[in-house]
């Protein structure tokens, strides 16, 4: 069927801020959708609150709304734009939920808007637990014994029927938020109460726990004619019980025989047909490893994290095909974009193996539980493509950037055999390494299987890697052994470490014996047809398929690896835009990256895509084949920056700011020298290696001091120390990983923080705008509310900032972008840090100023001058719109993570509020983050002594507005003495007026809590903050954020009354 010509104007709903369970994969899917719709000549209206995405870029849609993703706001946009259709199934659960709510209200019918793709009924049948179960029963597909309940007592009585343990799954939540396995009745009560609270429809599913069964997923596509294909299947190495987002996943399945494979494939097709899905769909199965018994776990009637992975694993663009199906095409009419000749109605063949490992944020949250279960905790993931599973594992491990490049985890050296065995009992982020260590210590494959229920096939693969380690340690490094080690994905550094042969010698040996990486193509068809899309992975097999011939100059752009706190989707935005700019200038572009969720690893973006780890050796293999004209490192975050020196040593020309100058921004002494030369102030400080040195410096500077390691992003390991005890704790923590560079200790200055991104061509500078942070210095810039343009900064200070930016950019010979953090303290402007690379604010500042920052920067890097590019120089004109970037956290997902804000970044994503006036913008930003702005209600206040005076005016204002004030004893006494009628609450842990009870009953609208010092988890404040996170009650740990909320409370307009802004009109 050709395209439905009645469709003319389509609203695409994005997925909002990056949170755990909903990450960059939806920018990838949404971007593909927008591109396809535009290609078809349709008018596209886009709404997404996340400004860091590529999909919210001006060339992606005709109308773009960076607005809160709520039903009310989407309705406003619909009223303004009058789309005839909505594409709901590419914006994750968020987009789907909004579309469904509009449908259920009858709004779509009233407005005569059609839902493209799957019918609402199909979506309901897939999403609603009971409806799904009924449907599965009607088509004879087995589900797990389960029951939907809407109160805790029913949950308990059903569990008595089917026996413990049971799994609790809340309906309509992301990434299984609020779910868990209950082994005892007490746990069941706790988890189900929490899950009921989090579910949009107050439903949880109680289900028989089948942990130990294999978990298998199928990605299926169906069109309106009923044609179905499976793109690929994937097998979780971790059996059922660990969320698939937290599992190590391989594709295709490795332990299924054809009979099992086809049985599940047939079932998946039967299910998607019964649900009448039109588009992509993910079906998860549990398979009893000892029989052919299986059960359907879940169906997602939309594109998902798994579909992004499947797309990258196979080369089959699921989101693109799903979009085409949604507007009427059938699979037999859609071309296979990889071969360009065959059709989308086929099943990709994999002549390689794909391994995905999640990236967890535990190094950010030292108090958090690392145990994995049904609640997803990973912020991102890496994928590796390899000729064998062993090599896939090794590649994925080093792609994680966790300072680990093999299956050896140093910390195990100190652990006894008993302790090591104990490690296997709890699945966590290090289970892979624990298995290897136990194999090393003599446990058999079978014993490990008994302890972990992981299939012996996977354990034997790990064992192969361990055996090879032993060989490398004990034998001479023969050519055969070296070749086998390379085939198993061992980098030279690891081979050297085990064999004690220097890396240079290994390299030489490889060259002499022609043991070199050969690149293979991902072509969807195992070379059955000619492929047109060069998408490569390395192997140590014969025959290199990467073609190096071109007339154009080649430029390598390094990507930013997995999404993590501190280095998110913003850097993918920058890499992709740089590639586009290079293409426009006639260069051949090459992207190297390993993140399957992103736009940059879509084979449509660069001329060539290398799906590889971002390490010196892996990149060198590509350089050897491609021999590029140069490489750009400044857009791929710290991941790419770290490779600068290695690239230079390979003889690759670094385009843009040089390594030497980047060092001058990071190296303390060189940086001080540069600042001195420019006459710029910075907070006093020094560099140290040891605790003793740190204490000495801190006492000279006088506490509080700011402690941080060099060359990190997202404030990793950064903290404010108030005394000797704290600085000891922090320095020891930093030194847990070997530091190549000294640790910085600076005087902590209280003041206003500001930030600029700028472009410098060596002579002139262009500053899109100055951003002001609402939180004072000490809260990481990524966790601060950032306001553009500045609201409270004098002209004199703004001039100073422009002057300093110009001076330091020129002094550091910056060619391209840089980001500078300033502080204004005591009337003086100081520079805190200079980052000679792109930053997390670049996408948003580009969008609100209408300056294509990365495009300009790339052109400057290629040699053009700002004066000739045409956007002027100096500070760009101030926008008449105010844009407020607000961080979004995923605290409720990470058990026992401390939620208080500080110098180490904790947010996973961000939203933007755009308006012509400040208070409307801040209201939008708060709504965008999911915070309901209360007009009246109850506030719980518990602050440390030194904040009491400061909090008073705010509490007075809230009190006068009619809020009821609850406070813990100390704070309450203070407030009462100041004339505020306050209800005293018990900190601990029982009684009607106790904090847990108040929070669980939903009596408190928000909390103001300033944390006492230290990172310990047993303090009351910590417990209150956790309870708040888990009950989804906003808890402000910085008074500045709370004051900003008050600004929003004072805004008299409702969400419906605030205008929506099409940013293409800015």
């Amino acid at each position: 069927m050709p395209r439905n010509k009645n469709i003319k104007k389509v609203l695409v709903i994005g997925s909002g801020p990056i949170i755990i369970g909903q990450a960059a994969e939806f920018d990838y899917a949404g971007t593909q959708a927008c591109v396809e719709l535009k290609k078809e000549g349709l008018e596209v209206v886009l709404v997404n609150s996340n400004p860091a995405t590529i999909m919210t870029d001006k060339n992606m849609a005709d109308k773009i709304y960076i607005e809160p993703l709520t039903v009310k706001t989407v309705k406003k946009i619909i009223e303004k734009e009058n789309p005839d259709s909505i594409l709901p199934n590419l914006g994750g659960q968020t987009g789907l939920n909004i579309a469904m709510e509009l449908e259920e209200q009858g709004y779509l019918k009233e407005k005569n808007i059609r839902l493209l793709g799957t019918s609402p009924e199909g979506i309901r049948n897939a999403e609603d637990r009971q409806a799904f179960k009924d449907m599965m029963e009607s088509i004879n597909e087995p589900c797990i014994a389960s029951k939907v309940v809407n109160n805790v007592e029913d949950a308990v009585s059903f569990s008595r029927e089917i026996g413990l343990p049971v799994i609790v799954r809340p309906a309509y939540t992301l990434g299984g938020t609020g779910g868990g396995i209950a082994y005892t009745e007490e746990q069941l009560r706790e988890i189900s109460s929490n899950g009921l609270h989090l579910s949009r429809v107050c439903q949880v599913l109680i289900e028989k726990c089948i942990s130990g069964w294999k978990e298998i997923e199928y990605e299926v596509i169906r069109d309106s004619k009923g044609n179905c294909i499976t793109v690929c299947n994937m097998e979780n190495i971790n059996p059922v019980g660990v969320h698939t987002g937290d599992s190590i996943v391989v594709a295709p399945s490795q332990t299924l025989a054809d009979r099992e494979y086809q049985m599940l494939r047939t079932s998946a097709i039967k299910i998607i047909s019964a649900l009448k899905i039109e588009g992509g769909c993910n079906v998860q199965f549990a398979l009893n490893p000892n029989s052919f018994e299986y059960a359907v776990i879940e169906v997602n009637p939309r594109v998902s994290r798994s579909s992004a992975l499947a797309s990258k694993a196979t080369g089959y663009p699921i989101a693109k095909v799903a979009t085409k199906i949604a507007i009427g095409y059938t699979l037999d009419e859609i071309k296979n974009a990889v071969t360009g000749k065959t059709y989308a109605c086929f099943e990709p063949v994999l002549d390689y193996v794909v391994v995905k490992i999640p990236k967890w944020p535990f190094n950010k949250f030292l108090t958090a539980s690392r145990e994995l279960g049904t609640q997803m905790k990973a912020t991102g993931e890496v994928m590796a493509i390899a000729e064998n599973l062993e090599a896939g594992l090794m590649k994925a491990i080093r792609s994680l950037e966790e300072n680990v490049d093999s299956l050896v985890l140093p910390k195990y050296a100190e652990m006894s055999n008993d302790q090591m065995r104990e490690e296997l009992k709890h699945v966590n982020n290090e289970t892979l390494w624990a298995i290897a260590e136990n194999l090393r210590r003599g446990m058999s494959i079978e014993q490990i299987h008994q302890a972990t229920t992981i299939d012996t096939f996977f354990i034997s693969k790990i064992n192969n890697l361990v055996k090879l380690e032993e060989e490398l340690k004990s034998k001479n490094l023969s050519i055969d052994l070296l070749r086998r080690a390379k085939k198993y994905g061992y980098p030279d550094t690891v081979i050297s470490r085990f064999s004690k042969v220097p890396v240079d010698e290994i390299k030489k040996k490889r060259k002499e014996n022609n043991i070199q990486a050969a690149f293979k193509m991902v072509d969807t068809c195992a070379a059955e047809f000619d492929a047109e899309t060069p998408y490569y992975y390395s192997s140590y097999d014969e025959g290199n398929e990467a073609d190096e011939k071109t007339d154009k100059k080649k430029v390598v752009v390094l990507g930013s690896g997995p999404i993590r706190i501190g280095q998110g989707i913003e850097f993918d935005y920058c890499s992709v835009h740089s590639v586009w700019a290079l293409k426009r200038k006639g260069y051949e572009t090459i992207i190297v990256n390993n993140n399957p969720e992103t736009v940059s690893t879509d084979f449509d973006i660069a001329d060539k895509l290398y799906f590889e780890p971002l390490t010196p050796e892996d990149v060198e293999n590509i350089i050897n084949i491609e021999k590029p004209y140069g490489a750009i490192v400044q857009f791929g975050g710290q991941t790419a920056i770290k490779l600068t020196k290695a690239l230079k040593d390979m003889g690759v020309k670094i385009l843009g700011t040089q390594e030497r100058d980047m060092d001058r921004a990071e190296d303390r002494e060189l940086f001080d020298e540069a600042l001195n030369k420019c006459g710029i102030l910075r907070p006093k400080g020094s560099t140290v290696y040891t605790v003793e040195e740190a204490k000495k410096v801190a006492n000279e500077l006088q506490y509080p001091v700011l402690v941080r390691p060099s060359y990190v992003l997202g404030g990793q390991g950064m903290a404010i120390a108030y005394d000797d005890e704290e600085i000891t704790e922090f320095i020891n923590e930093i030194n847990k990983t070997v530091q190549e560079h000294p640790i910085l200790v600076d005087k902590y200055m209280l003041g206003k923080e500001l930030e600029v991104d700028a472009i410098c061509d060596g002579e002139d500078i262009l500053i899109p705008g100055i951003m002001e942070h609402l939180e004072r210095a000490g809260v990481h810039s990524g966790d601060s509310i950032s306001v553009y343009p500045t609201q409270h900064i004098s002209q004199e200070h703004q001039d100073k900032i422009v002057e300093y930016t110009t001076k330091i950019a020129k002094e550091l010979n910056v060619i391209g972008v840089l980001n500078i953090q300033f502080i204004i303290s005591g009337g003086e402007v100081y520079i805190i840090e200079v980052n000679p690379r792109s930053s997390r604010t670049v996408p948003y500042i580009s969008k609100v100023t209408n300056l294509p920052v990365i495009d300009i920067a790339t052109r400057v890097i290629l040699g053009e001058k700002l004066k000739s590019i045409g956007y002027g120089t100096g500070l760009y004109k101030r926008s008449e719109y105010i844009a407020i970037k607000m961080p979004v956290f995923s605290f409720e997902k990470i058990k026992n993570a401390d939620t208080s804000l500080g110098p180490e970044m904790k947010s996973t994503g961000e939203v933007l509020g755009v308006s012509k006036n400040f208070s409307d913008a801040i209201v939008k930003a708060f709504i965008g983050t999911g915070i309901t702005i209360p007009k009246k209600g109850n506030v719980l206040v518990t602050v440390r002594d030194k904040d009491k005076d400061e909090v008073l005016p705010l509490i007075k204002k809230l009190y006068n507005k009619g809020f009821e004030i609850y406070a813990t004893k100390g704070t309450a006494t203070f407030l009462k003495n100041n004339g505020i009628n306050t209800t005293v609450v018990e900190k601990i842990w029982e009684g009607a007026e106790s904090i847990p009870n108040l929070l669980q009953l939903g009596k408190i609208n928000f909390i103001i809590n300033t944390p006492t010092r230290g990172k310990e988890a047993n303090r009351d404040g910590f417990k209150i903050r956790r309870l708040a996170a888990e009950s989804k009650i906003p808890c402000f740990t910085s008074l500045d954020t709370a004051n900003a909320l008050y600004d929003a409370i004072e805004d008299t307009k409702t969400e419906e009354e605030i205008d929506v802004v099409d940013i293409t009109e800015i």
Partner: protein, 140 residues
Amino acid sequence: MDLGDPEDCNIGIRTAKELYEKDIPILGICLGHQLMALATGAKTAKLKYGHRGPNHPVKDLKTDKVYITSQNHGYYVKEDTVNKEVAEVSHINLNDGTVEGLRYKNKKIFTVQFHPEACPGPEDTSYIFDEFLNELNLKK
């Protein structure tokens, strides 16, 4: 002689011809499909790319639906050589348009180039067996 050329299977072609004339119900698969075509006057030719593996899309022209099939053959039946009086094309390959199935007129004979019994491979086209049995009124 070219390896795998069905035109070389003289005995097979002769047998197919005898069975065709005896009105015995037949379901031909793969080489069986080619032999029956050759027996009834059609020609075969070599494919540029052989069809191998479990992922080949085949369209059933009666229902206009596409199924994924297992295949393993290097030759195909040339459509323009099929006598329209004898048989009509029931299935085609979506990628290269070659004949994937024939339905013989006035006979209880179906032949398919792909493997509906697929082992290994997808079970999508097991309906071919149902249709065959229905035709014989044997389906329970």
